[in-house]
């Protein structure tokens, strides 16, 4: 008899503990799962190869993620096709908050030139923006031009002699060069290169006369006195004390404003809780002085925009770029090559 009672007791105890345990689990699921997002590492797709500017921004975020989001970022580089391969993958990912991707101004510009597999500005939704950088216009220091006007005067006196290097047809640097030529009424021959460092090599070797690139690549040569910067494309001047003397295009009478920015984007349809949590966590990351230093080391400026502001920026940047590629004839150039 006591044996039977013992078994009964044990069974009851087990049953109760299972019930309690089960209830507990259900309870926690009901009340805390969503706020507890993220419960596992978040995959971050970088649509460029390791070591590029966007990749380094991702790695700066990766470093801070466990501290402010409670989960690590896992960076996956999906390079190729000027970013399309990675962004395609991001667009097709499930919007559960566990697959995010780095975004840059390129994802707004790419679909302008022809149908991409997904229309990124609508297939993706912006999460936050973390940093920005302007482009700068550089020339060889031994050229007599001291400012933008000197170049334009020279170009008018010597038509079709100046050539500018840029990082690929349709890239922001190409857009800037063509806009300047159009607005100033001069001819600048465009020479396409693969990336900013190739452009700088060609400029240093005097194979082209002008280049439009990101400040980080040229900074040491500007400081060293082999290259001279004549204008930046920001609304305001650069904050880097070494480069703060460079006037903007606007100051010199040209309405050329085009900034590169880095941020995070998610596939459309992210749960609002996840979005809020990510926005908060990322804001905290961006405000961390260590993150600021890391980003400034890469030649960018920290500039946080929340999801709403980022959405607005995507809209205005997209519209402006669409107008510009039309106006400058870049769209026609690319379309002509396709036929």
């Amino acid at each position: 008899m006591p044996k039977k009672a013992l078994i009964l007791l044990t069974t009851c105890l087990l049953l109760i503990s299972i019930l309690i345990g089960g209830c507990n689990d259900i309870q926690s699921k009901a009340t805390t799962t969503t706020p507890q997002y993220p419960t596992k590492p978040i995959t971050i797709i970088v649509p460029f190869s390791a070591g590029g500017g966007l990749d380094l921004t991702a790695r700066a975020l990766e470093k801070m993620a466990p501290k402010y989001l409670g989960q690590p970022f896992v960076i996956v580089n999906k390079p190729g096709g000027a970013g399309t391969i990675g962004w395609n993958e991001l667009s097709s990912a499930s919007p559960d908050g566990y697959t995010l991707g780095l975004s840059s101004v390129d994802l707004l510009i790419l679909p302008l030139y022809g149908p991409t597999k997904y229309h990124y500005p609508t297939a993706l939704e912006p999460l936050v923006q973390v940093s920005t950088s302007s482009f700068i216009m550089i020339v060889q220091a031994e050229q007599p031009w001291q400012n933008l006007n000197d170049v334009i005067t020279y170009a008018k006196q010597h038509p079709a002699q100046l050539k500018f290097g840029h990082s690929g047809i349709g890239s922001p640097s190409h857009i800037i060069g063509e806009t300047l030529a159009k607005d100033a009424g001069i001819t600048l021959e465009q020479v396409p290169f693969r990336g900013a460092s190739e452009v700088t090599v060609a400029l240093l070797g005097k194979h082209v006369q002008i280049a439009f690139i990101n400040p980080a690549t040229a900074k040491e040569h500007i400081k060293n006195g082999t290259l001279r910067a004549l204008a930046t494309t920001g609304e305001q001047r650069l904050t880097d004390p070494d480069l703060a003397y460079i006037p903007t295009f606007k100051e010199q009478g040209f309405n050329i404003v085009l900034n590169n920015w880095h941020g995070l984007a998610a596939p459309k349809g992210l749960p609002p809780e996840a979005k809020t949590k990510l926005a908060e966590g990322l804001k905290a990351i961006v405000s961390d002085p260590e993150f600021k230093t890391n980003v400034e080391n890469l030649g960018m400026q920290v500039e946080y925009l929340d999801p709403r502001e980022s959405t607005e920026k995507w809209l205005t940047d997209g519209e402006n770029s669409a107008k510009t590629v039309q106006k400058t004839g870049i769209l026609d150039l690319i379309k002509a090559q396709k036929n």
Partner: protein
Amino acid sequence: METLTMLLHGFYISIMPINLLACTIGVLIGTLVGVLPGIDTISAIALLLPFSYGMNSTAALIMFAGIYYGSKYGGSTTAILMNVPGEAASVVTCMDGYPMAQKGRGGAALTVAAIGSFIAGTIGVIGLTMFAPPLAQAALSFGPPEYFAIALVGLIVLTKLTGTSLLKSALMALTGIMLGTIGLDSLSGISRFTFGVAELDRGFDLSILAMGIFGIGEILTVMTKPNTQNNVPAVRFRDLYPTSEEGRRSVAPMFRGGVIGFLIGLLPGPAGTISSFTSYALEKRCSKNPAEFGHGAIEGVAGPESANNSAISATMIPLLTLGLPFCGGTAILLSGFMIHGIIPGPALITQQPDLFWGLIASMYIGNLLLLIINLPLVGIFIQLLKTPLNLLMPLVAVLTLTGAYSINNSVFDLMWIIFFGIIGFFLRRTGLEPAPLIIGIVVGPELEQGLIQGLIICDGNIWGIFTRPLSGTILVLGLVFILYHTIRWLSKVNHLREEVSS
């Protein structure tokens, strides 16, 4: 003299325990990356970048550089032992290294590769120490028209690399050039030959092609053989190392390879691959019995294996003195610099002398460490040949596919590597030499880019490319080369005719 003082100071920095440790870890990881087929240097360094945030910047950069040059040491191991190149630069090593291993001289080939790598690596670092800033300036005077000229002449000289017919080689090179045009072209902004397949926008990675055609192709070839036991003669300890005859024959190729690799490393593009091919072509022309090439000529291992190592040292020159990476490997090193807030450039030597000279001195030490690590490994690797091929080859296939995946994190690439493996298998069967294909795909894009940019720079006038002093000279050299070979061929034909008629 001042250089020497600074270099001594650099040695003082690089033998500090933390830096020495970083250097050792770097070259160890590099060796591993090199030996494992397909594992890519760039992804290996990228993976370690976040861990370096907390490290002292000099130590971190010494470690990254160690991985970078260290990875070129082991690349030939699988090429020599199994005919599976670990990276594109080792494709050439297969051609003579594998026949050597078949004859039981695999140990000698590995040893010569290690010693050659050390000698040429050191030649490269000496060049880097002595002439970095002036050489960087010289490299800048090469613009797109010059790249076009070099690519064109290189294509002509390198195509007839192997013994078979010139027509077959030229066809393979052309196919390579065609394959090189696939993908999104940044020069025109449009996708070419992708048939709307978005993944094809990336184009074919050189490593994917090389590992597919050579690596997977070889594995498939082995699969079709009934006998899975390795029929390599047993290697006695004495046979592990080169005979004095082999040693004597390797010395000149090592130094020639060291110099030529260094010069090629100064120019943009995949310097490691181009330099090993060039060195092979050079050795074949210098050799007294070129017929031996392709059947286990030790010069064909010593030259290329040396060349790609000094090329690696030379690629550090534009990175350190201009802050501009000329190839993928130095691009990831530049990221390493930037993460630590150091932007290399003309002022690096004067503003960060500790870092600059410490890094360079660590490269001397690292090369020595690599030799010390690699020589005993020869004995271990050679034991691999005792493994039955039906166990070894699947293992190599898994490693190759893993490595291939890691390059772009793309399953699509895995399909392509197998596809190219099958192509490679049939190429072997039909006697078409696949090496010129690799040359085509390396040189083709440079040729096209150089021509497009060169024409714009020369205002659309193709004669402009011929009248620029540098590109003109290179093109004339190429012309002389063609004329010389045509005349030789004609006289040979005449000779034959006379013999027939008499």
